[in-house]
C-alpha cells in the first residue's frame, strides 16, 4: 500500500532493465527498503540489475516479459502480483529506432509500433484491470516530448509515444474513483543506453532526473510531468510554432 505520506511498499518495473526503471528503483530505495518486481527478458543484464537492487536493500523478484510476445503482458502481471499487491507499476520499455532505416523498412516500422505502442497499451489494460480490483495503485507510463509534436528526424518513434500518451491519459480518467492513478511522464532527451552514441539535444536530462520526477509525481498525485520541468513550456511553444518554421528547426 502507498501510505499516508506517499511512501511505497512495492514497485513493478515493466522493462525492468531500462536505465529509467533502474534509476527509479534506486530512487525509491533511498527512502525505504521495498519489494521490486523486475519484468524483463531473461538476460544477463536482468540478473545484474536484480543483484544491484538487492544490494541496495530491495526484495527482488524477477518475472519474464517480452514486449514482442502478445501473450506476455497477462502472464507477466499475474506473476508479478502473485506475491502481493503492486503499489506502483512503471511501464518503461521502448525502442528508439533509426529513422533513416525505418523510412525504407516497413517490417521494422511494424515491429517498432508493436513494441512501442501495442505492447504498452496491452500492459496498461492488464495492469489497470488488476489495480482496479485491488482498489489502489499508481501506473507510470514513460511517454516522451517526441510525441507532443512529431518531427522529421524521429516521427515513427514520436507517433508511438503520441499513441501511448493518449492511451494512458484517457486511462487515467477512466480510472477516476477506482483508487488507481496514472502518471504520464514526458522526458526530453535522456542520456541512456537507448540514446547511446547520439549527440545531446537541448535540455538533455538523465535517468536519475526522470526517476526523481516519477517519485515526486506519484507522491503528489500528478497526472503529467515533463523532465526537465522547463520542457513543458518549450513544448508548448513548439506546438504553436508555424509549420513552415518548425520544419526548418534543427531538432
Amino acid at each position: 500500500m502507498i501510505d499516508a505520506l506517499g511512501s511505497v511498499g512495492s514497485l513493478l518495473l515493466v522493462g525492468g532493465t531500462s536505465d529509467i526503471a533502474v534509476a527509479t528503483a534506486h530512487r525509491y530505495l533511498q527512502e525505504r527498503p521495498l519489494r521490486v518486481v523486475l519484468a524483463a527478458r531473461d538476460s544477463a543484464r536482468r540478473a545484474t540489475v536484480a543483484e544491484e537492487l538487492r544490494a541496495a536493500g530491495a526484495t527482488v523478484e524477477v518475472v519474464d516479459f517480452d514486449a514482442e510476445d502478445p501473450a506476455s503482458p497477462e502472464r507477466m502481471v499475474a506473476a508479478a502480483t502473485a506475491g502481493g499487491d503492486v503499489d506502483v507499476a512503471v511501464v518503461a520499455f521502448g525502442q528508439l529506432g533509426e529513422q533513416e532505416q525505418l523510412a525504407h523498412d516497413p517490417a521494422a516500422v511494424a515491429a517498432l509500433a508493436r513494441v512501442n505502442y501495442v505492447a504498452p497499451v496491452v500492459v496498461g489494460t492488464v495492469l489497470a484491470e488488476r489495480m482496479r480490483a485491488q482498489g489502489h495503485g499508481s501506473i507510470v507510463a514513460l511517454s516522451s516530448v517526441a510525441g507532443e509534436r512529431a518531427r522529421a528526424s524521429n516521427f515513427v518513434y514520436g507517433s508511438t509515444k503520441a499513441g501511448i500518451d493518449a492511451f494512458y491519459s484517457g486511462l487515467a480518467d477512466s480510472l477516476a474513483g477506482s483508487g488507481v492513478s496514472v502518471l504520464v511522464v514526458r522526458p526530453g532527451f535522456v542520456r541512456s543506453k537507448m540514446t547511446e552514441g547520439l549527440p545531446d539535444a537541448p535540455l538533455a536530462t538523465t535517468p536519475e532526473a526522470v526517476a526523481e520526477a516519477i517519485v515526486t509525481g506519484v507522491r503528489k498525485g500528478r497526472h503529467t510531468v515533463w523532465v526537465p520541468g522547463a520542457m513543458r513550456w518549450v513544448m508548448s511553444g513548439l506546438r504553436h510554432t508555424p509549420r513552415a518554421i518548425f520544419r526548418k528547426l534543427p531538432i
Binding site: D3, A4, Q134
Partner: protein
Amino acid sequence: MPDGTTAQLTGWGRTAPTPALLERVRDEADVRKVLAESRGRGVVARGLARSYGDAAQNAGGHVLDMTGADRVLDVDLAAAEVEVEAGISLDRLMNLFVPLGMFVPVTPGTRYVTVGGAIAADIHGKNHHVAGSFAQHVRWLDLLTADGQVRRVGPDADADLFWATAGGMGLTGVILRARVRMKPIETSQTLVDTDRTPDLDALLTMLSEGDHLYDYSVAWIDCVTKGARMGRSVLTRGRFARRDELPARKQADPLRYGQSVKVSVPDVFPPGLLNVATVSAFNELWYRKAPKRKRDQLQSIPTFFHPLDGVGAWNRIYGPRGFVQWQVTVPFGSEETLRHVLERISSSGHASFLAVLKRFGEGNPGMLSYPSPGWTLALDIPVVSGLARLLDELDEPVVDVGGRTYLAKDSRVRPEVFARMYPRLDDFRAVRARVDPDGVFTSDLARRLEL
C-alpha cells in the same frame, strides 16, 4: 440486510483514501451474508472510524459498518457489568449508564469510538497507569471467525485468541458482542488538579512522583517551543468526585449527565493553515490561559475527558491533505530518547499542536497491544513534504530503546520497523493462521505492514 455501496474510505487523518464495498450490518446474520459474498480482497469491520490511518479500510474488498449493531443486551447493576453489541459507542454507553452510576472503564480522548473498535485497538485512556487498557475490562467477547463459528473468548477462554483479538485491529474476525466491566461512580463530576510546568524535566518529575495519587492523568506538551522551555506543559490530573464533595446544589442530582457537539467544522479549510506560526500562537495562548497551579476544580466528563468532542469534525482544520498522528512509547529509563525526539520535532519546522504526554503503567498480554511501561507521546502533524523522512528517522531511536508505535494512530510506519517494535508479532500471525488460514480478514493496514 446488508446493502453494499462503493465508498471512498479514510481514517480520522483523512489520508490515503481507498474504495471498498461498505456494508451496513445490524446483526450476526448480516455479517455472515457479507462473509459469504466476499471474494479475494477480504473483509474488515469498521466502527466510528476514529483510527487515524488505514485500519478500517480495505481497498477493493468489503468493509462492515458495525455502527448499526448497537444494542444493549444485558445489564448487571450490582456487578457493574454490561453486555453490548460491538457497534455501540462509548458516547451511548455514557448517556445510558452514567446516570445509573457507571462510567466506561477506559475512555480515549474521544467518546465517539465503538466497543468493538475499543477492543480491536485495545485503547487506553488517562487512567492507564492504574486501570490498564480497555481489553483488561472485557470479561469475554463473541468473535465470528472465518470458518463461520462464533467463539466466546476471554482471558480464561482461548486466551491466545482473546489476546490476539485485543489490539488485533479486526484481523482475527468480527467482534459481535462483549461483556464489559464498568467503573462505579458516585457522581458525574471530576475533581481536577492543574499544574503548569516550565520544561520537560519538571513534567517528568511531577508525573513520576505524583501520578499514583490520581486515577486520571495527562499532560499537554508544547512541541514547537525550542531551547530551555522545550517541553513546557500543562498537566491535568483528577478523579471522580464523591457525592459529599459536590456543592450542595449539585448533590441532589449527582449523576446528571449531558453533552452535545456545540459547533461543527465546515470542510473549507485550505492546506497549510496550521503552520509553525499559527500553531506557536495557539500553543502560547493555551499555555498562558492555564493556571500555574490549581486544585480540586470541579469539571464535567466532557470537559475533562473529551474536550475536542465539543467541536464536530475537527479533523477538517488540517485541510484536504489531512494529517498524521505519531504516537510512540519509550520505556522508563529512556528519557533521553524522549528528549531527543522532542528536540528533533521542535527544531524540524513541522507544526504540531495538541501533543500529549502520559505515563503508562504495566502492559497486558495483548500481542499487538500498544501500552507498555514507559512514556507515551502523541502528536498531530499536518501532511507536508519531508514529513515521511522525518518520521522514519524519529522511529529509529524509539525502536532502538524498545519503544513502539500505536496501530490505531499509525498510517506510515515502515513494515520492518514495525516488526521490530512488536516482538510478539509472530505469535499474532500464528493465531491468525489458526483461525483464518485463508486471510479472509484483512485491511489496508494489514497489507501495508505485512501483518
